[in-house]
Structures are given as structure tokens and as C-alpha cells.
């Protein structure tokens, strides 16, 4: 347990101290959201209507941004070999790394959401709903992304291949995340229905992600 806690603290420290961690993710999120009005025009009503979708797409892309370094960096400096040989199970170690990634990338996005909601003309209820769906849904994105990160690390390829592999798998999360946010704003479906499915997707990916990622690393790095 202490080994996992140490791994979690190490990843968090790396994310905060080494440039390109949490602040860059939030900055990217902000830029994506800023670009949208330039593309579709400054119509506030339209922005309010598609605001949750924009925020979700921004979170999806910002989450993807830091993924290719999640395991690849450890592979480069050799610490992945230590994690592989450690007594703590690889699945739990990877889950700890994913948790650190979410705390340093996903959580700041949720915290930044109220500000961005303001820019997109979302009322407080809508902003709250989007923030709530993001806090429930972004762990799923991280844990699904963990599989892609492990696959591409095993193959020593990152970047676009990672996006191609991971994005189709995140479609259900996107659908139910945006659906829950919209349900809270305009209805007619009760908020609970899509939100429960979103939570179920998150829980499932927390279970499946570390196992699949560990399998990919064990099979791929020989």
C-alpha cells in the first residue's frame, strides 16, 4: 500500500513540478473553448445550447493530451521496469498512475468548468450539471486512455495512433455525459437516467482499464 501511495505522490509531484502537466491541460481546454465561438459565431443563445457539448469535447481532447506520456515517460527513464518487477501488482500500480493522471488533468478541468461555462453563456444550473457530469465521466476517459497508453508504450509509438485507438472507445462516455448535462438543462429525460449509466461506464472502465493495460504491458514489453 505504501508503495502505491509513493507512486501516486511521485506522479503527482512530477505532474506539478515538470512543465506541461495540469496547467497546460487547463490552458488547452480554455483555448479549445475559446476557438469555438470564432468558428460558429458569437450567438449567445446558440452557444448556451451547445455549451455542454463543447465543454465535453474540450475535456475529451485535453484528457488525451497528456496520455501518451502517462506510461511512455516511465518507460524511457527505466522506472517502468521497477514498477513491473515490484511486489505490488502491476494492475494496482497502473490504477495508481491513472488516479494521479486524473487528479492532475481531469480534476483541474472540472474546477475550470464554471469559468468556461460563464464564457459560453451557461446559467448556474447548467454549469453545475456539466461540472457534475465531468467529475463523474472524466475518470472513465482516463482509465480507457490508460489502455491506449499501455498499448502504444508497448509498441514505442504514441501520438496519433493513441488517439485513433482510444477515441472510438470513449463514444459511450461522451454520449451519456452530454445527454446527462442536457437532461438537467432542458429535459425531457430525468437527469438520473443518463447520469447513472455514465457512472456505470466509469466504474466499468476503472475495473477493465488497469487489467487490460497491465496485460498489454506484460505481453508487449519482453
Amino acid at each position: 500500500m505504501t508503495a502505491l501511495a509513493a507512486l501516486l505522490m511521485r506522479d503527482l509531484r512530477l505532474a506539478v513540478r515538470v512543465g506541461g502537466g495540469a496547467p497546460i491541460g487547463v490552458l488547452f481546454f480554455l483555448i479549445v473553448v475559446t476557438l469555438v465561438p470564432f468558428a460558429i459565431g458569437p450567438d449567445l443563445n446558440l452557444l448556451a445550447r451547445i455549451g455542454p457539448a463543447i465543454l465535453w469535447l474540450g475535456a475529451l481532447l485535453a484528457n488525451l493530451l497528456a496520455l501518451d506520456r502517462l506510461i511512455a515517460m516511465d518507460h524511457e527513464d527505466g522506472s517502468l521496469d521497477l514498477i513491473l518487477m515490484a511486489r505490488a501488482p502491476l494492475e494496482l500500480a497502473l490504477a495508481a498512475k491513472a488516479l494521479a493522471h486524473w487528479l492532475s488533468t481531469g480534476l483541474p478541468l472540472v474546477i475550470a468548468t464554471p469559468l468556461l461555462g460563464l464564457l459560453l453563456n451557461l446559467d448556474p444550473t447548467a454549469t453545475g450539471a456539466v461540472a457534475l457530469t465531468l467529475i463523474a465521466g472524466t475518470p472513465a476517459l482516463t482509465f480507457i486512455g490508460l489502455i491506449g497508453a499501455a498499448l502504444t508504450t508497448a509498441l514505442r509509438r504514441g501520438g496519433l495512433l493513441l488517439a485513433v485507438l482510444v477515441l472510438p472507445l470513449t463514444i459511450p462516455v461522451l454520449i451519456f455525459g452530454v445527454a446527462a448535462a442536457n437532461a438537467a438543462i432542458v429535459g425531457p429525460v430525468p437527469f438520473g437516467t443518463p447520469f447513472s449509466i455514465l457512472c456505470a461506464l466509469t466504474l466499468m472502465s476503472i475495473v477493465v482499464g488497469p487489467f487490460a493495460a497491465a496485460a498489454a504491458l506484460r505481453q508487449g514489453l519482453e
Binding site: 489502455i147 498499448l151 508497448a154 485507438l165 459511450p172 429525460v189 443518463p194 449509466i197 477493465v208
Partner: protein, 244 residues
Amino acid sequence: MALIDLANPSRFLALADRVLPWLAAATLFAFALGLGQAYVAPDDYQQGATVKIMFIHVPSAWLGMFAWGIMSLAAVGTLVWRHPLADVAAKAAAPVGAAFTLMCLVTGSLWGRPMWGTYWVWDARLTSVLVLFLMYLGVIALWRTIDDPARAARVVAVLTLVGAINVPIIKFSVEWWNTLHQSASVLRLDGSTIHPAILGPLVVMIVAFTLLFLSLHLAAMRNEITRRRLRTMLMMRADAAAGH
């Protein structure tokens, strides 16, 4: 002959050489029968002759999913038993499956143009087949990024199984998404009310397409084994030329 014996490529090649002509002949026969029946099948009273696109469209859709099933079985074979033939089967099935999925999309689009008035609607079924096609392309891309086939096979096997878990979830969520966003305005064929005069040829065509897939898959597996042998020989020759 036990499954483990087929791990020897020479034995598998001998078996494939014996089976393939029969399989090809059965495919030709089934296609002759199916196409003949499809030709004389009556036109739909509403859709006219375009209903005959179904005889290609539906079997392609079936094979798009069938190929992923074959890949998942092969992935289990790769991860659990490290069966060398499973690697080859998984690799050979991916492009064939992708091709049938693309054929399903293209024929569906051509059918949609006269029936719905547009080449593409964001209908739940169309969308989930599109996602399936994208996932095939991801798997093929993953295969191509690595030289060592045995290592690539194990990594791709993980992705294939994750995909097998996800495909039903994606299908379900896309259906949910579609019913939420638009009412059922899209014309769709009701599966259960197909007239026997059309259902008969359709079943024959599905059998014919499945036989075609099996033939293509077996031939692709044979080619893949030959390709690997060739690669080993070239590497040995390069090794010898380098003077080791």
C-alpha cells in the same frame, strides 16, 4: 487432427491446400444459387428494385460483426495458449472484416439515397457500423506499427478483446443517443416482416457470403504464413551476407 498439431505451419498449409478448393467451389455454388434466386426475387411494392441491395448489404453487415468475433476468438487463443496459428488468424481476419464493414456502409449509403433521399443519416445502426469500421482501422494500424509479429499479435489481442467488450456498449449507447435526439422519422426495414420470397434468397446469400469470408480468410492465412517464411529467409540471407 488436434488443434495443437496445426501449430506446425507445414501441417496447416497442407490442410489449407486440401480444404481451400472445396471451400471455393462451395462458395461459387452458393453464390450461383443465391444470385439466381435474388435475380428472380420479386421487387418490393414500395422500394422497387432497390430492395435487392439488401442481398449484399445484410450479409456484409453480418460478416463485419462475424469477423470481429473470429478475431476475438483468435485473441483468446493468442493470450491463453499462445497458439501461433491464432496470431495468423487474427491478422488475416482484420482487413477482410474491415472490407466487409466498408461494403456494408457503401451499399447502405447507396440504398439510402433513393429511399431516404440522402446518402447518410445519423441513424443508430449506421453510426454504430461506422464506429466498428473505425475500430477495424485502429486494429489494422496497430498491426502495422510493429515488425515482430508475435509481439504485435499479443498487443493487438488485448485491444481486440477490449473492443469486443465495447462494441455492444457502443451499439447500445448510440441507439439511446439516437432515440433521444430525433424521433423515429427514418424509414427502416422491419426485420420480422420480410416476405418469404425475399427471405429465402437472403438466407442463401448470407450462407454464400459466409463461405466467401471463410475462403478469403483461409487464403489470407496461407499468404500470411508464406509472407512470414519469406521474411525469415530474407533476414537469414541478409545475416549471411553481413558475414556473421
